[in-house]
């Protein structure tokens, strides 16, 4: 190796954009975590004020205190062979968002982007007029520098009104998530005899299931229950 190459390597070792990125993401994660804790602390003040008034209600719910699922809402549509159990999640039990720096997400708007839908058609609300497509890559291990393992695909349908549908899918793996929670006490839904679990958290629905050889992980924001069912029926048919 020449002196020039040695100096170049020393500069790259010191001014390393990968390190810069990792430190930025680390700061972002810590900031997000802090914001969430502040929000939770803010809301935790409310029960102190209301404890006398709703003491009885709190007692009734005490047995369920360790469960993530608050309640389950049943929906049956015999015509379309749909039985849905919407499992509502306790906002205090959802894990912190984890922005995983071990994943590299690449924008890919190639016309050959593989679609998981049977006939290539899916029922998306018309006002979701933006479509972005991504590919997730993983590293073999934490020491590896290259993100060369194909993880999953993702299509995000969205608009400027903060409505979105994220469809992640992969034939090989369960798609990567940036959140976690306990599924204890959740109930299963069926659509055209395919079993799936549907969860609701504030204005977000999410579900995962296997169909047509694909592992799906779908998350919607500010989408109605009807729009969610139409979407799932168009995929599982």
């Amino acid at each position: 190796m020449t002196n020039k190459e040695k100096l170049k390597r020393a500069i790259e070792h010191d001014i390393n954009l990968r390190d810069y990125y990792n430190k930025i993401i680390d700061k972002i994660e810590k900031g997000e975590e802090r914001n969430m804790k502040i929000n939770m602390r803010k809301w935790s003040l409310v029960p102190i004020c209301l404890v006398v008034v709703i003491g009885g209600v709190l007692f009734l719910n005490y047995r369920n205190d360790n469960k993530t699922i608050l309640k389950t809402k049943l929906y049956i549509d015999e015509t379309n062979n749909v039985t849905l159990n919407i499992n509502e999640i306790d906002s205090n039990k959802v894990g912190m968002p984890k922005l995983d720096a071990n994943v590299k997400v690449v924008t890919n708007n190639d016309v050959n982007f593989p679609l998981p839908y049977k006939n290539g058609v899916v029922n998306i609300p018309k006002d979701l007029d933006k479509t972005n497509m991504y590919i997730f890559y993983f590293r073999e291990n934490k020491e590896s520098k290259d993100y060369n393992i194909l993880g999953n695909y993702e299509i995000i349908y969205s608009n400027d009104k903060n409505q979105s549908i994220n469809v992640k899918y992969s034939k090989e793996h369960k798609p990567a998530r940036d959140y976690y929670f306990s599924e204890e006490g959740s109930k299963t839904s069926t659509i055209n005899d395919v079993e799936l679990k549907i969860y609701k958290f504030e204005s977000i629905y999410f579900t995962e299931f296997k169909f047509n050889d694909y592992n799906f992980d779908i998350e919607t924001t500010n989408i109605t229950e009807k729009e969610l069912i139409d979407l799932l029926l168009s995929i599982i048919r």
Partner: protein, 184 residues
Amino acid sequence: MASQLNLYKFNEIYDNTHFDLLKYVIIECHNINDTQDIIQDTYLELWNILNKKELSDINIKSYLIGIANNKIKKHYTLLQKIKTISLFETNDKDIELIDTLEDDVNINDLIIKEDNWNTIWKYIKDKKNQDIPKVFYLYYKLELSIKEISKEINSSESYIKHLIYRTLKELQDNFGNGGKYNDK
């Protein structure tokens, strides 16, 4: 969950802008050791903006450079600027070196026993005249020509050449045979 979409946007912007932003910050900052802090503050501000509003129909590179420019201004107090801005290290030995230097000094011809280029780069980075590490970064890392560097840092080509050749000579003297750093 809600931040995932913004993280994709952020990653996309980072991928498309980090090389140009780094180059800009290195050229404009007063001390190359502050680069990481300024880059970090710039992208963290971008993250906060992404969480508040949609950034569409703007030239994101120019937008980021605008943020970086403000960060650089805020980073240095007037006193720091006065302390750190200096065109040349004004000691007689340096001036003498410039006069006696050959114009064809090549880094690959240096015989440096101390084969620790991380230490050598740190030595260059800590020079009082911060044009030196900037020029070395642009010349040896980005492989820009002397002409391109002179445009980037708004100085004459002969000034750039002198900085390079004088520093190479200094490296030879300090890290080569009998050099003070080599003997340690």
